[in-house]
Symmetry: D2
Subunit: 244 residues, 4 copies
Amino acid sequence: MTLTVTVWGEFVHERRNAEIAALYPDGMHEAIAQCIRAGVDDAAVRTATLDQAEHGLDEPTLASTDVLIWWGHLAHEQVDDRVVDRVQARVLDGMGLIVLHSAHLSKIFRRLMGTRCNLRWRAADDRELIWTVAPQHPIAAGVPHPVVLERHEMYGEYFDIPPPDEIVFLSSFSGGEVFRSGCCFRRGKGKVFYFSPGHETYPIYRHPDIARILCNAVRWAAPQPSAIDTHTSPRSNKNWWVSA
Amino acid sequence: MTLTVTVWGEFVHERRNAEIAALYPDGMHEAIAQCIRAGVDDAAVRTATLDQAEHGLDEPTLASTDVLIWWGHLAHEQVDDRVVDRVQARVLDGMGLIVLHSAHLSKIFRRLMGTRCNLRWRAADDRELIWTVAPQHPIAAGVPHPVVLERHEMYGEYFDIPPPDEIVFLSSFSGGEVFRSGCCFRRGKGKVFYFSPGHETYPIYRHPDIARILCNAVRWAAPQPSAIDTHTSPRSNKNWWVSA
Amino acid sequence: MTLTVTVWGEFVHERRNAEIAALYPDGMHEAIAQCIRAGVDDAAVRTATLDQAEHGLDEPTLASTDVLIWWGHLAHEQVDDRVVDRVQARVLDGMGLIVLHSAHLSKIFRRLMGTRCNLRWRAADDRELIWTVAPQHPIAAGVPHPVVLERHEMYGEYFDIPPPDEIVFLSSFSGGEVFRSGCCFRRGKGKVFYFSPGHETYPIYRHPDIARILCNAVRWAAPQPSAIDTHTSPRSNKNWWVSA
Amino acid sequence: MTLTVTVWGEFVHERRNAEIAALYPDGMHEAIAQCIRAGVDDAAVRTATLDQAEHGLDEPTLASTDVLIWWGHLAHEQVDDRVVDRVQARVLDGMGLIVLHSAHLSKIFRRLMGTRCNLRWRAADDRELIWTVAPQHPIAAGVPHPVVLERHEMYGEYFDIPPPDEIVFLSSFSGGEVFRSGCCFRRGKGKVFYFSPGHETYPIYRHPDIARILCNAVRWAAPQPSAIDTHTSPRSNKNWWVSA
């Protein structure tokens, strides 16, 4: 069965900044899409960006998306609230959502969390180590312990999110901070994975361990059949103790 | 130390319906307030209602509230979004929030959950049993197992909420349904307790076991000192491995 | 990739009681094995019983088992502690474990939980409804809401287990009780699923919805590659901030 | 209401090693007891040690203990299994248990966890930072963010414990590791807190922030009244839908 993955990229910074453009000449979304194409055999991967009509996330596109990956940074407030409503509804209906790095402040992530989602940060070439704390979790399958990112932006606690349903990874930084860098959330019929690596000035999405984690997350977040409808609060007049 | 508790009641149905008015002549908020006054020695309890200016929840009132209790049913959409913003901000800053019964569809609860919060229901004089599944949790202290509500509205699964951080109570109904009836959520620096008993046509808030649970919840939800500020994502330039 | 599943059955009651023998002429383990053979394409399924040498769970058998299913009732105390040690070690090393019904009091389950694992019960032809409370969980994929068991033994709360890492199913019974009937636990590198349906005097393991759940659970519990070794507490002399 | 706290210390290393004896001349248990005496107004604090009859934990002592604090390191295997059985039973009956530092390998902690409880370590004067990740949790009340331990033994992931019911603190170390250093577990009617600071060659239990955390944990772990009995699996013949 084919898994349809849509990678959404803000695609703003890559076109303004030569350093980032050199790392990601086709945009970060293309680099992320390439990870999934190379690592998930049965995935059909497409991309969408902020500058497209409806940000590339019109109703038919979302309806046919199994897993949506979201990277944004500079332009969170430019994302149309109606598109955010639509993405939220699709997650609650079962679509998987993978939220990357600076998208911790995206409208869709804050909407699904209910909290401020703030954190500490520092862009100063910290070394980051990503330690697995759930070796039995599918997103950690085959992942080295720790994963080493030679240089990355620091993200540190306190990260203002609800207690994750599962914490898969914790990161340490050479400046001394810690971060819950891989967190799972269950929302409605959908699964959400937040993964912090991915600053635009480092080639994080070229790193094979990061690619492995993204591919594991796509498979984990895939939708599944469910008899449950969460769109209304139905009145139920049945007495279950009386057999039909 | 005094604990300041504000009980918010929609106070609409009680004024329209003779049956409800007979049960709660001063409004449901007054009955709930009475539970807290009688059971929490150090509580200063006040009430607020929808028809007041800013629904009785202006900035100074919220700023001085330690725990807010919320009951609403008919008029969720009449609650001003700016008041919802304010309540959410206060919860994230540490105020406790207790959400009762039909307030599962209140704007503030849906905002904090990020999900639809729908459920199944039936108003047909079901008997409800409230079973404790966390005997070590402070909200279950001294509570009978089960608590028996002779007649109550049925609320049944699937209840579209995030997996609770702690489930304290599960209910069964004489029609056959189950419900996660006592659920704790941690959001920002605040604690949230959802408790399903409390339909307006039954004298639920006159029941001593229910009063005990509400009082336990108030104490559990009380704010506490914290050095953490979640209002911004601050840049941190300190290297922690270099002693000051 | 083939998934090797071992179904362990106590196989005592089936040989003593004509009613049970009529339902399960080859033993309950064979009925359970048949569910997995029919529903998991890539599974190689074998069985083991109490009366075999080392209860059929010698070192090579366990070492080659991906998922172990455990049903026991009358003879928990006859299970050799050395076999329990071995099963526990295999779970902590990654083998999946599915614990069924009365095996809530098995040595291996109590060992992995650390609690007494007691519950309330009544064998009186209750009707049981199994409600899904985690529609996004792989074990609930394609499962009706609710699953109806026309007649079954009642298991009720309080069930003395640690708070499950994930609750997938809640059951109600026609006598009024509730039960956390489908619970996931992560222990070491292994995954454990407790599922309460399966009393020996009812044909529960002939029920297609139950078979579906068991098959889902087998796939969920399958082991995965991990770089982590939990056998010792190693001394680490590396300073990670110094690149190699 | 007086809270009776018993501090159990192995009291072996302090009598063999001059460096440790200089830090803790009366034993580590006395330093820990002093923290509780100074910070919990209504606590009656006593101590018990390995060399006493029944390790100082006879039936009446345990029966009158509200919260037990456990520090051990060299002599875990010398603790009598019958005493471990007794402590476990008391925890399941509601006694709080606080497990410190190297007691991650104590019999009682491994018994309650069901896992190996191994971790990485290094005694090399690392600097440790203790970051709060649950600012709304009572054990974090009034605790600086981060707490700084200038020199301490490193404990690092993977720590082989079940996913904690609540993670309150995460630590980073100057060598690069992270650790879930403050973890809550609910077991039976009792609450368990594991807190990693406390190596015998550092004056950790003289540190005011550590004392604050220990006192917060004692109050959090205190027992509470419960109508539930977990000692047996009782047969229940009542039909709850028939009123008495």
